[in-house]
């Protein structure tokens, strides 16, 4: 039996570059325009003055997006995720009311830290505040599968409802696993994506201790994340969420849905060498696996949305992995890292970047890595970097979205233009 094709029919994003709405189009417009969503952020309830560059969804109003009291039952990572999921669902033209016939529709969601803000509030109340009683919803707000469950509940999806927590590859793996479900016929429709809201004082402190966060002040924070550039000094933590509706291609065509792109392949690997040091060969294995799964050759590839977070070692290793896999095609294949604009939302990164990749194909435009083309690191050359300004007006045939996680878990999604 031939495997089913998987159509992307709905998109939703809440990110630091489009915090006022959840529209993927607004998100992509901001990326094309080269707008940075990064700024200096002082987390509330810090025990002393403290601020770092971060990607904050500052204008996001959970009460307005989800309604009271529903929003109040969720941690911020679920508020962001459910808002993105709702936007994707509406974008796909699917009925919001809990409909009959959704017994085998499902959710696959990625998050690295789940309800980190809720945990931190609980710790503060109990350890610092000395309270004997914590807020009664602490457990159900903080649990890592809360967002997926809220989504399944909201749309009456009765099939698999799974959460993948694989650090920075979480959402990419969720989307890949959802693709497999649609491809196999197990689910005609899957809502897939990811969300994270990691901007808690304690979490930021922990990342600082790893010495991977980019420094910055009020003026320099918007340009603090500089992937592939000589002046890069680390990653910028962010919050955000993105969702994709994945649907059996024939079903999507039958109902006249708009098909943005085909999710054609998914490749995974483990570096098997270090928890934190990226590995060229490990990443190359995931890239080759995704291309093979999509029956794509490097010659047919036009764009890669890189994982590149802006760390010294990570970006150079990813360039080496891409060069090894793409061979003679490497200089022609466009590459950019949209983290320079939206920061690194950890487990949600793969979802935001999958949406950017899908819209790059759909709108024939490549969002740039923010920065100065003249500042490209000599260790990162050899690819078709799109830096500083967008490249538009040239149709793209196929594209990859890379996610490479601490722990060595690599995930690559392959998309094809819908035509």
């Amino acid at each position: 039996m031939t495997a089913r094709r998987v159509a992307v029919t709905g998109l939703g994003v809440v990110s630091p570059v489009n915090p006022g709405d959840a529209a993927a189009g607004t998100f992509f417009d901001a990326l094309l325009a080269g707008r940075s969503g990064l700024r200096l952020y002082a987390p509330p309830a810090s025990p002393r003055p403290f601020a770092v560059p971060a990607g904050v969804c500052a204008g996001f109003d959970a009460d307005a997006a989800l309604g009271k009291p529903r929003a109040g039952t969720m941690d911020r990572y679920s508020q962001l995720g459910v808002t993105a999921g709702l936007a994707a669902w509406r974008d796909a033209g699917l009925a919001e009311a809990r409909d009959a016939g959704r017994d085998d529709w499902g959710v696959a969601w990625g998050t690295s830290l789940g309800g980190a803000l809720t945990f931190e509030r609980g710790y503060r109340d109990t350890y610092v505040g000395g309270r004997d009683r914590l807020a009664p919803l602490t457990v159900v707000q903080a649990m890592t599968n809360a967002c997926a469950s809220h989504l399944a509940l909201g749309f009456g999806l009765g099939g698999a409802c799974s959460t993948y927590s694989v650090a920075c590859s979480s959402a990419a793996i969720a989307i890949g696993e959802a693709m497999r479900r649609v491809r196999s016929g197990a689910a005609p429709v899957m809502l897939a994506g990811g969300s994270d809201a990691p901007l808690a004082f304690g979490v930021i402190r922990a990342w600082q201790a790893l010495q991977v966060l980019a420094p910055g002040d009020e003026a320099s924070a918007p340009q603090a994340c500089r992937p592939f550039q000589s002046a890069r000094a680390g990653l910028v933590l962010a919050e955000g969420a993105a969702a994709l509706v994945l649907e059996d291609w024939e079903r999507a065509e039958r109902r006249g849905a708009r098909i943005y792109a085909e999710l054609a392949g998914f490749g995974e690997s483990c570096d098997r060498s270090s928890l934190v040091r990226p590995d060229r060969d490990g990443q190359a294995r995931a890239l080759r696996a995704a291309l093979a799964d999509a029956r794509l050759a490097p010659a047919g590839l036009d764009y890669v949305n890189a994982h590149a977070t802006g760390t010294r070692e990570g970006d150079a290793v990813e360039v080496a992995a891409l060069a090894a896999v793409l061979g003679e095609h490497a200089p022609r294949v466009a590459v950019s890292s949209t983290k320079s604009a939206h920061g690194h939302p950890l487990g949600a990164a793969g979802a935001l970047e999958a949406v950017a990749t899908v819209l790059a194909l759909h709108r024939a435009g490549i969002p740039p890595t923010l920065g100065d083309p003249a500042g490209l690191d000599p260790d990162c050359t050899g690819l078709g970097h799109v830096i500083g300004s967008a490249r538009t007006g040239r149709p793209l045939r196929a594209a990859l979205s890379n996610s490479f996680a601490f722990g060595g878990s690599n995930a690559v999604l392959a998309f094809r233009a819908a035509a």
Partner: protein, 78 residues
Amino acid sequence: MQDLASVYSFVEERLGLDLKRADAAAELAGLGVDSLSLLELMFEIEEKFGVAIDQDTPPPKNVGELAATIERIAAAKP
């Protein structure tokens, strides 16, 4: 003794409802207030107004019962 109006306005703000205009018989669940929201709300009331809500009293099911709960809280000594 609490100020009744301030308890009302706190509850209305948290739930996004105008309780005085709502039908007393209207089920809270139908207004989007499920058992989880109520649990959190009761905890927040205790925190904000410094009162202890009797854990053995069944939670309010409709707008009228919620109003009665609010009036009991307002009458309670902190």
